[in-house]
């Protein structure tokens, strides 16, 4: 195991300066995620347009570098994608951090793939997988319009 694998520069950078932080304008969906083990909490705000495209996406909350970076990278990656493709990407991401599968989606450019793959280091740190996946589960929940908050204990 190598800490630099986990804490890649991209992650540190996103952890320090998260993108899309705050409530986005006129969001249509939101959901709350919570990791009771560490107390990490995030809230995801989402604006779906009429064509079911993710017009805007943002978040608030606090957590460790991994969870903040993962959320930040997620917002960057998904923004502008259709609902269908967003769901594909979520599955891709979850498969990657849990089973080290490759990113299959053809809708991501190289830069986006690199960013997403920078999170694959958590696979070596089982207790940190939940940090990386919290945002993505929460996004699913926002898309599904669920009322309950996402809880990593249940989500895994």
């Amino acid at each position: 195991m190598d800490l630099k694998q986990l804490y890649q520069d991209i992650i540190l950078e996103h952890g320090k300066s998260p993108r899309n932080f705050g409530k986005c304008d006129k969001y249509t969906h939101k959901a709350r995620g919570h990791n009771p083990l560490c107390g990490d909490k995030i809230e995801v705000y989402l604006k779906l347009d009429k064509e079911k495209k993710v017009e805007d996406l943002s978040f608030e909350g606090n957590g460790c570098a991994i969870s903040i970076a993962s959320t930040s990278i997620m917002t960057e990656t998904v923004k502008g994608k259709s609902l269908k493709i967003t769901k594909e990407i979520i599955i891709d991401f979850l498969n990657m951090v849990k089973n080290l599968q490759e990113i299959k989606s053809k809708e991501l450019d190289e830069d986006q793939k690199i960013k997403i793959m920078s999170l694959s280091g958590v696979k070596q740190y089982p207790m940190r997988v939940k940090c990386a996946t919290l945002a993505w589960h929460t996004l699913t929940s926002a898309l599904d319009g669920k009322k309950d908050e996402v809880n990593t204990e249940a989500a895994e």
């Binding site: 009771p36 560490c38 089982p126 207790m127 249940a154």
Partner: protein, 406 residues
Amino acid sequence: MDINTIKSEFPIFSKKINGKSLVYLDSSNSSQKPISVLNSLDNFYKNEFSNIGRSIHSLAVNATNKFEETRISVKKFINANSKEEIIFTKNATESINLVATTFGQQNINKGDEILITELEHHSNYVPWHYLRETKGAVIKFAPINDDGDIIIEKLKELITSKTKIIAVTHLSNVTGTIVPIKEIVEIARKKNIPVLVDGCQSAPHIKIDVKDLDCDFYAISCHKVYGPTGVGILYAKKKWLEKLPPYIGGGGMISEVKKNKITYAPLPEKYEAGTMPTAEVVAFNESIKFIESIGMENIINHEKKLTNYALENLKNINSVNIIGNPKNKAGVISFVIKGIHPHDISTIVDEEGVAIRAGHHCCQILHDRLNLPATARASIGMYNTKEDIDVLCEAIKNCRKVFELK
């Protein structure tokens, strides 16, 4: 594994009792433990110990994984639907109290009826009695016949529109009666009544399939299933665990805690408050593996043969009276000897290294029904042999000598 060499896997059988080899016939009380379980316990404490589910350092991660592996093994062992349905408790008694308390809180009101049977262990009566005291519930006892079988027709008749739950043992710890749970669940299902099964005695001795039984709750004590003390299991259908309120409150079972409000963790954590018997749960995985390495079918066959052998031989001893003659009997053999109190029997056979139990076995209702203040009980585990039964029979004959009975 050869059923004849099983005994050698249990370290305690190299011990001498009063200079004699130990003949352990008290497994219904608690079973002995195979070496693999003890090694797991020892290894966990010596090399891997950490609290689980809270810290994220390497030891804690490993311990948490091992702990959860046991949950998955238990799920498979009893064929549950998901691991969220497996709750670790301290013993079967706590498992039943958990259900009685939380189910009672939500579903029992004054005049509501709880249906149990005359076979029940105190652990499957006292928790319901509390609801009688605090909520004004009514407890009904399905009667048994002289053979020790529950009279199913009578049980049916006792069900009313007020019956809120049926709680029944799977295997009597006095008569060895194997109760037709499926039949009872089917009856209950028609009236939409949940069924709790006390599986304390069945878990080590018959194949458990909660999906097939279709019961709502199933309680197990690991120390009777060749596992460590300090761990019990509650199986419950997910819908119940989701719906019922939490039981013991504290660390680990919460989600968010504010000064004015508390939300609870998802399953199974919702019901696992405080530090768990971590090492003991981890080691219990080895108990399951041990049973599976032998095969439950083989264990059942072995115990069946031994039970029949014991029954035949005991019946041949003048004045030994076997309690109950159920249709389907497991290796739990209670008996009395005219003119000798069970306690005296126990003391006398102990002199020969034979461990049996004497008393009411936490079943006073059943003993009242049988009109006996106490019985002696020999109960069989997978490690018992024909020789054990022979020693028991000789020791029992000695009782009559000591008491100078003809």
